[in-house]
Amino acid sequence: MFQRKIGKQIAILAVLIIFWASVQAMVGLGIINPYYELNLILIGINIILAVSLNLINGFNGQFSLGHAGFMAVGAYGAAIITLKTQLPFGLALLFGALLAGIFGILVGLPTLRLRGDYLAIATLGFGEIIRGVIVNIDYIGGAYGLSGIPKLTNWTLVFWLTVLTVIVIANFVNSTHGRATISIRENEIAAEAMGINTTKYKVMAFSIGSLFAGLAGGLHAHYFYTIQPGTFNFLKSFDILVMVVLGGQGSITGSIIAAVGLTILSAALQKLAALRLVIYALLLVIVMLFRPQGLMGTKEFSLKMFRRKTKDKEGKQHGTAIGQ
């Protein structure tokens, strides 16, 4: 689809530009007040987090529970550059993202030998270790966290970086490397037998995912003025995981839909305090019970879904435009 239909790509780009420009205009005119703008930015950050985790969990089939840890690395990395040096914001973001990516390699190399639940618990452990170490380093604020970070993140930046993340990951998934990555999810032993270097591809997917989590962390740090280690605990990892699973593991559009939906839901239920989390939990259980593969499964959302009934075979082909 990417190679064949250039016209379609231009159309998508046009839609994106129109969407970005109209939001930008509405922010300028005050139709979108700062509260909605904040939620739009949160949605963008959450999409980056969910899509990047989906690469690890959904496409590569490696169950990671430590995504918040990499987000923390990115957030601290970027914030330190901004606070302690005079380098521009773009470099700070890049540094945070790269640092998280390197951490991804360091964590991935030893742990990705593990499978399934063991990997889950090991990554959860690493996430907690990263947080535990941050709490103990006074240079970066310890338990206080870092404050006084300038607000440099804005709608334009978040929007285009979100688009960039989605494009990079979608293209990666559709590349030769991506197919190798997916084959590991389908059957690791078979993939190895076919001559795929499974360790290499697992670490590759893991570090790319971590890199974008770091990017999201950097954006987050520069929008909310402060970062604290407590923000990046394993509940945050769960949050991201829930987006991925609700949307469907192996569906980029699914992650996007879930990130949008859950961010809005969280904002809408804000006044309910503890009850909000009860509703959230029930929703989670109910969706899992009735649709364990998530809303989208491994399929991608496309307009063709809404066309009139086609034969089942054809439908399947349409539904899997990007993913497979």
Partner: protein, 393 residues
């Protein structure tokens, strides 16, 4: 395929519904702002790690706002106390503040309970020029920017600052308890605790004392015996435990169990009827802490507050409830004197607050937006707080 389409449709509908709910709720608030109400926001910890603090504050403040409303409100309007949960998280606090200010049109915000969460959202308030008061954010940096040393225009607090309490306790330890050596045992996740420890340490060393060790814990801990055994081996004259009452109760209990009998000292986070319940009355003997007031004090304001609170919520108020109540008093007083109820005027009125009668004393703000108030040192005797000394500001 058909089923799949159904789900896609369902998702779209659910999301749309959520959006409508969100917008709908917002729309209502805006109308309310023009009407006969003054919106005061609450940005408090109602869920998450320190949910207890936020909930007590909310109750305390609600109690006072209800009293004011029953007596006809302020400036001829009723007060609407709009509380949002910040999930004990700095990011969520910023989120909640943005909503309170831009959506609900709050003219002032109370919160958050911790210094960290307050610092998470104060920039939002400053950018929007809305004054905020944290009932219990004690860290110095909350009201003063550490880099420029300038006071933050829109940020106030109802509680002590860390240095004052730490120094008062260090003086008490050296002069009254004749302590030469001390061990610090600090709640590592609380800037409040770390601040107290830092100033206690400085002041204690300045007076010739010696800090034998600095230990730390995380508030979710249940078992402290390992570290306490280590502390016991050091044999200090006093142990300073600046933290909140839940871990403190366990620490005091467990240290007496393993045979540590030296005085244990703390700060206002200790003040709670839960403390003797958790630690046990006997274990608490020979412990001292600094506080804003004593709920046993023979003061009519305190007595009536304790009674009213007990009647409404069925429990003795802790420090957080008292600070929440006082913050509400300060806010209502400022709104009254602002005359038009706009955020800017309320801020000015807060700056000029003079001797406002509240539960924790007569409150005025100094040039750094900190309340000027003295501290009392309380001793625990058979589970009862007994008044020891009063230290002037």
């Amino acid at each position: 395929m058909k089923k799949f389409r159904l789900y896609a449709l369902l998702t779209a509908v659910v999301m749309l519904a959520a959006l409508v709910v969100g917008c709908g709720a917002g729309g209502e608030e805006k109308k309310a702002a023009d009407a006969k109400e003054i919106i005061i926001g609450g940005n408090l910890e109602l869920s998450g790690a320190v949910a207890t603090f936020g909930t007590a504050m909310k109750n305390g403040a609600q109690l006072y706002f209800d009293e004011v409303n029953a007596a006809g409100g302020v400036l001829g309007k009723q007060i609407k106390f709009e509380v949002l949960d910040n999930k004990s998280d700095a990011t969520e606090a910023a989120n909640a503040a943005t909503r309170l200010i831009t959506q609900d049109k709050a003219v002032a915000i109370m919160g958050a309970a911790t210094s960290g969460n307050t610092m998470g959202y104060m920039q939002v308030a400053t950018d929007n020029k809305v004054p905020i008061i944290t009932p219990s954010g004690t860290a110095l940096d909350v009201t003063v920017d550490p880099n420029t040393k300038k006071v933050r225009d829109y940020v106030f607090r109802t509680c002590f600052i860390d240095p004052f309490q730490g120094i008062v306790m260090a003086n008490f330890a050296t002069n009254d308890l004749k302590a030469k050596t001390a061990v610090l045992y600090v709640d590592n996740q609380s800037p409040y605790a770390k601040g107290l420890a830092q100033f206690f340490e400085e002041s204690f060393i300045k007076q010739g004392g010696q800090i034998l060790a600095k230990e730390a814990f995380v508030p979710e801990d249940q078992d402290f015996k390992a570290t306490l055994t280590k502390i016991k081996g050091l044999n200090p004259d006093v142990i300073y435990v600046p933290a909140y009452y839940e871990p403190v109760g366990k620490i005091v209990k467990q240290s007496r169990e393993i045979g540590i009998n030296v005085p244990i000292l703390g700060g206002d986070g200790w003040d709670s009827p839960k403390l003797p319940e958790i630690a046990g009355a006997a274990a608490l003997n020979n412990t001292f802490f600094t506080n804003h007031y004593s709920s046993q004090q023979d003061d009519p304001t305190i007595k009536s507050f304790v009674e009213k609170y007990q009647a409404k919520f069925g429990q003795v108020p802790d420090t957080f409830a008292a600070l929440g109540y006082d913050t509400a008093i300060l806010l209502v007083d400022a709104v009254k004197r602002s005359e038009d109820g706009t955020p800017e005027k309320i801020k000015d009125a807060l700056i000029s607050a003079k001797e406002v009668q509240a539960v924790t004393g007569k409150l005025s703000f100094d040039e750094n937006h900190n309340p000027i108030k003295g501290a009392v040192i309380l001793e625990m005797k058979d589970g009862k707080q007994t008044y020891k000394t009063y230290v002037k500001p």
